[in-house]
């Protein structure tokens, strides 16, 4: 076992060596521009892109013509939201999303508001799930798009996508999902789920960074988005720019591998994750954040009360994890996702996200359990809050000096 141990697979994943092997020829020998129609260098590159398009489409139950390659999920989210708003603004100017979305969606929505659009940011329930009645009540004649993430990046909660899509469609709106964390981890099917637009990224599924895709439905209904990057008219005019052929080939291979291995991998990872979680919950005053039933198989977000997350991560120096504590950022505001679950700031500051992945072993999980437990106990010895809790002092009754 090599240290440090990587348990931050929601942030990014290591590239699978099989993906790298597939990409390698496209850097040096098959280097052509996929848009060069007049010579074999272009044809070979285009073949690679076409094959990748099929591989990506297959993983999500789409057809290859519905895949637009982008630089990643952030671009896909931007293209989906801004592109739909621009294309359909004659029809209506209202978009609905949730407060737990990734910043790529939230900030694209903020941009739409600057352009004169109206955006409703729906709260979520205490377990992170969207309230479907609330969604339905928020739909108006002006609603053109509902955008709800598939699986949450911080807590792993999986939204009832099929039901959400049905509500959007009932009111004549399109349904988009940021499926960056879900694609390749759990079965995602754009037809069965009723998805009109879907954002995904390669580097979360053991592919390279800097490449992703936006699925745009072509039939029932035919969805169009206004290009946000103008130029040579690549990707059916929806996203100009010379195609990142090696990256796209890597994304395709990554999707193929996920399709083949996802089922067994999800079982393996959820067993490891459950072991990690149940062992860590043996610690007093530790809590899982978010719904544990509808959750991605590889994620556990746990708060260790009376211990601050960043301090804890420093103690667990051989573990690469992330925390909802934002002590390093200028704002000092803890995770907005955790706060939206109704978590108090101190519990949000005390949270650690464990993200397991394809290369995580049981030995590593065992090590992580031992290190985390030891570190939490150590830091509680240092924590005045823990001491006060143990003395039976109600911390909520103390008048703290906010700073």
């Amino acid at each position: 076992m090599n240290l440090p141990i990587y348990l931050d697979n929601n942030a990014t994943t290591p590239m699978d060596p099989r993906v790298l092997d597939a990409m390698m020829p496209y850097f040096t020998q098959k280097f052509g521009n996929a848009a060069s129609r007049n010579h074999p260098f272009g044809w070979v590159a285009e073949e690679g892109v076409d094959y990748a398009r099929e591989q990506v489409a297959k993983l999500i139950g789409a057809s290859d013509k519905e895949i637009i390659f982008t630089s990643g999920a952030t671009e896909s989210d931007n293209l989906g939201i801004k592109g739909v708003f621009e294309m359909y603004k004659e029809k209506g100017n209202h978009i609905i999303t949730t407060v737990t979305e990734h910043k790529a969606v939230l900030d694209a929505c903020k941009h739409v508001e600057k352009l004169g659009g109206t955006v409703t940011y729906l709260p979520v329930k205490e377990d992170g799930m969207l309230d479907l009645d609330l969604l339905e009540k928020s739909m108006t004649n002006e609603t053109i798009l509902v955008s709800v993430m598939y699986g949450n990046n911080e807590i792993g909660v999986i939204q009832p996508i099929k039901e959400i899509a049905a509500i959007a469609h009932k009111y004549g709106a399109l349904f988009m999902t940021d499926a960056t964390q879900a694609v390749g981890k759990i079965p995602v099917d754009v037809i069965k789920d009723g998805i009109d637009l879907l954002a995904l990224s390669a580097h979360k599924i053991y592919g390279p960074k800097g490449v992703g895709a936006l699925y745009v439905r072509r039939k029932g209904p035919r969805v169009k988005v206004t290009a946000q990057i103008d130029g040579g008219g690549h990707e059916r005019g929806m996203r100009s720019g010379t195609l990142n052929v090696p990256g796209i080939v890597g994304l395709g291979k990554a999707c193929e591998l996920c399709g083949l291995e996802m089922e067994s991998e999800a079982k393996r990872l959820s067993a490891l994750r459950d072991k990690l979680q149940s062992s860590l919950l043996e610690l007093e005053e530790s809590y899982v954040n978010g719904n544990t039933e509808h959750r991605l198989p590889h994620v556990a977000n746990i708060s260790f009360k009376y211990v601050e997350g960043e301090g804890l991560m420093m103690a667990m120096k051989d573990l690469a994890v992330s925390s909802g504590s934002a002590c390093t950022s200028a704002s000092l505001e803890p995770s907005y996702v955790l706060k939206s679950l109704g978590l108090s700031d101190d519990l949000a500051h005390s949270s650690i996200r464990f993200g397991l992945g394809r290369f995580t072993t049981e030995e590593e999980v065992d090590y992580a359990i031992a290190v985390t437990k030891k570190s939490v106990l150590h830091l509680r010895e240092l924590s005045p809050l823990w001491e006060m809790f143990k003395e039976g002092i109600d911390l909520d009754k103390i008048e703290w000096a906010e700073h």
Partner: protein, 137 residues
């Protein structure tokens, strides 16, 4: 962001962790920060009849820099008179621990904790608290 060696040293081997009897009139206690902000420091001093600090203890809920700042503060407090201790400046802590700008608030909190502990002691022993007018860097 990488931590400085001194932060790591204080974090890994914190000095003077513990609790003094806060009901003792020779003990001053400063509890500053808030759980919501992700930092709470409790700093305590034991003072002798000559107003010299003979012992100092801390417990801190916070990041590595917050723990290191309070650990360093207890080291500096021991052996100082309460008047000299009042002069400890947060920027001295920043410099000693090589704290980056985003961690300066940890040093501010440590300075606040020192002053709160001294004032607690002063009030307990019939002295007026010293109001700090200082604007933090």
């Amino acid at each position: 962001m990488a931590y400085s060696d001194k932060v790591i040293d204080h974090y890994t081997n914190p000095r003077n962790v513990g609790t003094l009897d806060k009901s003792n009139h020779k003990v001053g206690t400063g509890l500053v920060g808030a759980p919501e902000c992700g930092d709470v420091m409790r700093l305590q001093i034991q003072v002798d009849d000559n107003n010299m600090i003979t012992d100092a203890k801390f417990k801190t809920f916070g990041c590595g820099s917050a723990i290191a700042s309070s650990s360093l503060a207890t080291e500096w407090l021991k052996g100082k008179s309460i008047d000299d201790a009042m002069k400890i400046d947060n920027m001295d802590i920043v410099e000693e621990l090589a704290l980056p700008p985003v961690k300066i608030h940890c040093s501010v909190l440590a300075e606040d904790a020192i002053k709160a502990a001294i004032n607690d002691y002063r009030v307990k022993n019939g002295m007026a608290p010293i109001e700090s007018e200082k604007v933090h860097h």
